[in-house]
Assembly symmetry: C2
Homo-oligomer: 297 residues x 2
């Protein structure tokens, strides 16, 4: 009974995307190398990390953008899977001893704790690579370029460096904003842009999609910071309070919980306002924005 | 005077490619993020590794293939630079403490010795990513796919896993062949295939190019093994004999120096025989094959 209640609470999930989530799961599973294929250890390690769950938020954002822009066909699915694999690669490398040295991820030991550092390093590299292979299967070199730019040193990697450099120092609101926009925001922005590009969106629509993505991405990370302070460890599958203990750059630390919540809410509302008049089918996209703002895990 | 002699000996280099090598250097330099741009440390680390020299063999193989197949224009240059960046990424991660734990590379401290492990990890990730960004700039999703497959778990990463698993064990000729074909050969094969694809080669020509690449790639690594036994540390810019000390899987170890040399020679001759009738302009490609077979560094 308790279990069911928790489950209900963790799946306050846009109804329009429930079916898509299952399709994404199948696509991700299908695109991973089989665990009985050489090199088995590496393939098993990849599956351990990718199939550990997660909200599949980036794939769903790409699909929602694709459909909001009237995209048709199956081309979005390899792209969606690619986005999840890139996200997993970044988590694996971020957890390594030379980075955050994390022990737990999604309720299980981190990959290097389970398979050793060398295998974790190569599994991250393999997912990074496989993501580009999948993105190339869309036939769109532009989608590949978007992905590369979202996670390169002008995107996610700039955020990771800034995060590392900020640890243990006095950070300002500007510092935290920079870190979040890059470490989380750029890939979220890239996810919705790729969905729109593959749907053949106009430059004008793409611009609105990007502005939506920027706001959703930042809001997502602020909510993440808030959950680290007041979330339920059981539901999150990781220890809470670790940001505070590690003196991580977070919004609650620089502007308090109350203002952080307001900021997240405001970003979501802005995103909704921007996107509603800009795309042919905004409803599901709006629902997803509100879910991101209100999520409990 | 001595310096000049050494230089002459290390540049026994195909005359047809001398000019191209300078163009490749310029393209590589031009595509790297500037060191004064944020995140500066990461960008400086990237430049430290990429601009440390190296033969630029993979870019030159791609260019030679492109020209052998009558390719025209500038599209090959971002692809060529991408191949070098991928190679550098693989060296940086391979040198890390959890992998080979190497101290020296190209006559200088390895990247993690100079900048620390975290920066080296992210610099490798950044180059991996930047390579795909450059390859996407060719506009060819097929070229991106070729690159991804060459270095994924069916290619280079399979070789790295096999190499790790083989260390300290009794390896056979088959084991070493598998490791070399994957760890080195697949990216060499990919380099010439990408050159041919960007030149618009026919399926038949592409098949001959692939067979050439397979043989050149394996020969290259066998020569590398031989140089580790009898090469000049000063010229190689790294310590020699390290393969033997680390009980690495090498050809000299499983078949002796004499047979290793014969094998390399035979592979080069096969490559030359295959390619000569198969492409419109084979001369430079043949010269490059013979250079790879006879190189001293």
């Amino acid at each position: 009974m308790v279990r069911t209640m928790i489950k209900t609470r963790t799946t306050e999930f846009p109804a329009c995307l429930v079916e898509k989530r299952d399709i994404v799961e199948k696509h991700i599973d299908g695109c991973l190398p089989k665990a009985d294929q050489y090199p088995q250890t590496l393939h098993a390690a990849i599956r351990y990390s990718v199939m550990a769950g997660g909200k599949r938020l980036r794939p769903l954002l790409a699909i929602a953008a694709f459909e909001a822009c009237d995209g048709k066909g199956e081309v979005i699915y390899p792209a969606a899977a690619a986005l999840e694999l890139v996200h997993t690669y970044s988590l694996i490398h971020d957890d390594l001893p030379c980075m955050d040295d994390d022990a737990m991820r999604r309720g299980k030991p981190t990959l290097h704790r389970k398979y050793g550092e060398a295998v974790a390093l190569l599994a991250g590299d393999a997912l990074h690579d496989l993501a580009f292979s999948l993105m190339a299967r869309t036939g769109s070199a532009q989608a590949v370029l978007e992905l590369a730019e979202a996670i390169g040193t002008g995107g996610m990697l700039a955020g990771q460096m800034a995060d590392m450099e900020a640890e243990g120092t006095q950070v300002t609101e500007d510092d935290v904003t920079f870190i979040h926009i890059h470490k989380t925001g750029k890939l979220v922005r890239g996810s919705v842009r790729i969905g729109a590009i593959l749907a053949g969106a106009s430059a004008e629509t793409l611009e609105a999609i990007s502005q939506y993505g920027d706001r959703i991405g930042l809001a997502f990370q602020i909510v993440d910071d808030i959950l680290d302070v007041e979330g339920d460890a059981r539901m999150l599958g990781k220890s809470v309070g670790s940001d505070t203990r590690n003196l991580k750059a977070t919004f609650p630390r620089v502007m308090g919980l109350g203002r952080s919540k307001e900021k997240a809410k405001q970003l979501i509302e802005e995103a909704v306002e921007i996107i509603t008049p800009a795309v042919p089918h905004p409803d599901c996209f709006v629902e997803l924005a509100r879910f991101i703002g209100g999520r409990q895990t």
